[in-house]
């Protein structure tokens, strides 16, 4: 089952496209990271998936074909919006009560246990909790609904490193214990390397890369060789070229088995390195299915 499936999906605000021609199929059972610079269309994609926005073009379904925002979809999806909006004048206990009343399932015991574990007093007003505690409360409310898909919009952007670590630990525990699928957006790359096993890169409203982290890492290599010989290596799609005085670094789409030209060295790439390379060159793309792959050749090579 695909937790999110989109084809030709686009969203326009006024005359600008926040997201366009988005094709995605995120399978269940992953912690998927939605990465991109500010304003790339991450929040728009999440809003479309949860039914808070309606597509201007194309379509999107969730949890194996359910329309976003439909009762069946809302029942299985928990969404924690950016800045974790909550009723500031309600206590944590009231927020639990509220969420329990608004959903078919709510694991009150789980929620209370978790808040006790985190040291969040039930009687404290949500508005009086620290940023980290608010984020944890929002996450607890979401997880206590026992969702099949958890959507998190910039969940750690406002948190300090410890709160960030605790938050992600909770997400991973839920993933391991319940098998909940997770899609989280972030522009903090370092954090994702540890948790994500599926990557979606968006920039300027387009999906640039989508795939399992393992596959993406296996299909990209970093080549290092003499700068003068860069032109000889045009056989494989090059994602990014950085040229120094003597040496050039090429991030190419290749496997470890691909032959390496004489005088060149090859290394595996890390997720952060890979993501940065793509984000720096929005024209490059790595998408599932041959039709979606555009061979990206930086202009420097074709000269």
């Amino acid at each position: 089952m695909n937790v999110i499936e989109a084809s030709g999906l686009g969203k326009r605000y006024g005359s600008t496209w926040a997201l366009r021609e988005c094709a995605l199929a995120i399978p269940a059972g992953h912690v998927a990271a939605l990465v991109g610079p500010n304003g790339a269309g991450k929040t728009t994609l999440l809003n479309l998936a949860v039914g808070l926005a309606t597509p201007s073009a194309g379509e999107v379904t969730v949890l194996g074909g359910r329309p976003p925002g439909s009762p069946a979809a809302l029942d299985g999806i928990a969404f924690v919006a950016q800045d974790t909006p909550m009723y500031k004048n309600l206590s944590a206990a009231d927020m639990l009560h509220l969420t329990r009343n608004l959903n078919r399932r709510f694991d009150q015991r789980y929620a209370e246990d978790r808040l006790a574990e985190l040291g969040i007093p039930l009687k404290r007003k949500a508005g009086k909790l620290s940023g980290g505690q608010q984020a944890q409360l929002a996450l607890t409310l979401a997880l206590a609904r026992r969702p099949r898909l958890l959507l998190l919009d910039e969940p750690v952007a406002m948190l300090d490193p410890i709160a960030r670590h605790d938050f992600m630990a909770t997400v991973l525990t839920a993933m391991a214990d319940d098998g909940v699928s997770v899609l989280l957006s972030s522009h903090v790359l370092a954090e994702l390397e540890r948790v994500a096993d599926y990557l979606i890169l968006v920039s300027r409203g387009r999906v640039q890369v989508a795939g399992e982290v393992e596959d993406l890492l296996a299909s990209h290599r970093m080549l290092t060789g003499p700068a003068a010989e860069v032109g000889r290596y045009a056989r494989r799609p090059v994602v990014r070229l950085s040229r120094g005085e003597a040496q050039a670094h090429l991030l190419v789409r290749a496997t470890a088995d691909d032959p390496v030209p004489p005088g060149w060295e090859t290394h595996p790439v890390g997720l952060e390195e890979l993501a940065l390379a793509y984000l720096r060159d929005p024209a490059a793309a790595a998408l599932p299915g041959p039709a979606r792959i555009r061979s990206a050749e930086p202009s420097e090579l074709t000269r």
């Binding site: 808070l52 029942d75 800045d83």
Partner: protein
């Protein structure tokens, strides 16, 4: 190699049972109890003050009406003490602002606050579903504020009874259709409902609490004035009669004009004609005597004679009016269209919530 198996849940039926409506009752109460308490305190305070002033008013009227003989100095004193209380009519204007305030303070924030603080992202993504959430909030709140306003208008009807009673003896009688109409019967509750619905829709459209409240007040005032000035007089076909020289003072006179030989005579011409005739036929009265009851009656008789004379010489006086007996039909008509408008506005709000993207 085995693939990672996720603890699969039994595939749930896609057409699952929705979360029951009754669960929203606690949510609505918990989130709006402060607004509802404020409405209760506000209306309660008004009710207490109306009740306290009203008791004195009713006593004064009853004492003046029962006094015999009516022309004695004691009775005169009692009548004066009642008529001096006519300041109570002024609060009629204050009370007419109550529906607008309820609409602005209880209706507008329901959606505007969610949209302004971003909490709609939480509320509208819960399993209850967002259009059901909206309906389950707006309908009970609308019913509660309407019922509270209805209770207050029962008190208003009682309060103004000495003034609007048929054959009120001591104050100039005015038409119940033109005067204090919206405070009595079903109109007050209906206007409160309409103000609440205007507030809810304004909140959804404007998405900011304070501007939505201002817009609610403006829209309510516009609608109330348009209704009073242009709409209400057309609820039922107006009665048009000619040469009705002494219309009942409870009738709501909408217009009056003269014709001669089929052509309308302008009011300024008529004033000239009538003043000159009046001066000729009315005997000169000493200024000191002009206030006495006898002179007043004589003046009135002279006026009627003038009118009779004019009609015998080709003039016709026309009056267009609504009789006071139409009070209840008018109440039901006003209540009816306001109810229909409110239902429409709430439906539009729910539709917008369902459709409008964040």
């Amino acid at each position: 190699m085995t693939t990672l198996t996720v603890a699969a849940r039994p595939e749930e039926n896609v057409t699952l049972r929705p979360v029951p409506w009754r669960r929203m009752a606690w949510v609505t109460w918990r989130q709006h109890r402060i607004a509802l308490t404020a409405v209760a305190v506000f209306l309660g305070a008004l009710a207490v003050s109306l009740w306290r002033v009203g008791i004195g008013l009713h006593h004064a009227y009853a004492a003046a009406a029962a006094c015999r003989p009516a022309t004695s100095p004691l009775c005169d004193q009692l009548q004066t003490s009642f008529t001096r209380m006519d300041g109570f009519l002024v609060n009629g204007y204050v009370l007419q602002a109550v529906p607008a305030l309820i609409g602005a303070f209880a209706g507008a924030p329901v959606l505007a606050r969610e949209l302004e603080t971003g909490t709609f992202r939480y509320a509208w993504t819960q399993g209850f579903g967002r259009w059901r959430w909206t309906l389950a909030k707006l309908v009970p709140l609308a019913i509660v504020v309407t019922a509270a306003a209805g209770a207050l208008s029962v008190l208003c009807s009682w309060y103004y009874r000495p003034y609007l009673t048929t054959g009120n003896l001591f104050l100039p009688e005015e038409s119940p259709l033109a005067n204090l109409f919206v405070l009595r019967g079903v109109a007050f509750a209906a206007w409160t409902l309409a103000a609440f619905a205007i507030g809810a829709l304004a909140g959804m459209l404007i998405r900011r609490v304070v501007p939505a409240m201002a817009a609610t007040l403006a829209a309510y005032i516009g609608l109330a004035f348009a209704t009073g000035l242009y709409l209400r007089e057309h609820y039922l076909p107006q009665v048009v009669v000619k040469n009705l020289f002494n219309p009942p003072s409870s009738a709501w006179i909408i217009s009056q004009w003269w014709t001669r030989g089929g052509a309308t005579v302008s009011q300024s011409t008529m004033n000239q004609v009538m003043n000159s005739m009046f001066d000729r036929t009315m005997p000169v009265v000493h200024a000191a005597a002009a206030k006495s009851f006898g002179v007043k009656a004589q003046k009135h008789q002279t006026y009627l004679d003038t009118l009779h004379y004019l009609t015998q010489h080709g003039y016709t006086e026309w009056v267009r009016y609504q009789p006071a007996s139409r009070f209840w039909p008018f109440q039901w008509i006003e209540g009816g269209w306001l109810l229909a408008l409110s239902v429409l506005l709430i439906a539009a709000t729910v539709w917008l919530v369902r459709r409008r993207a964040a």
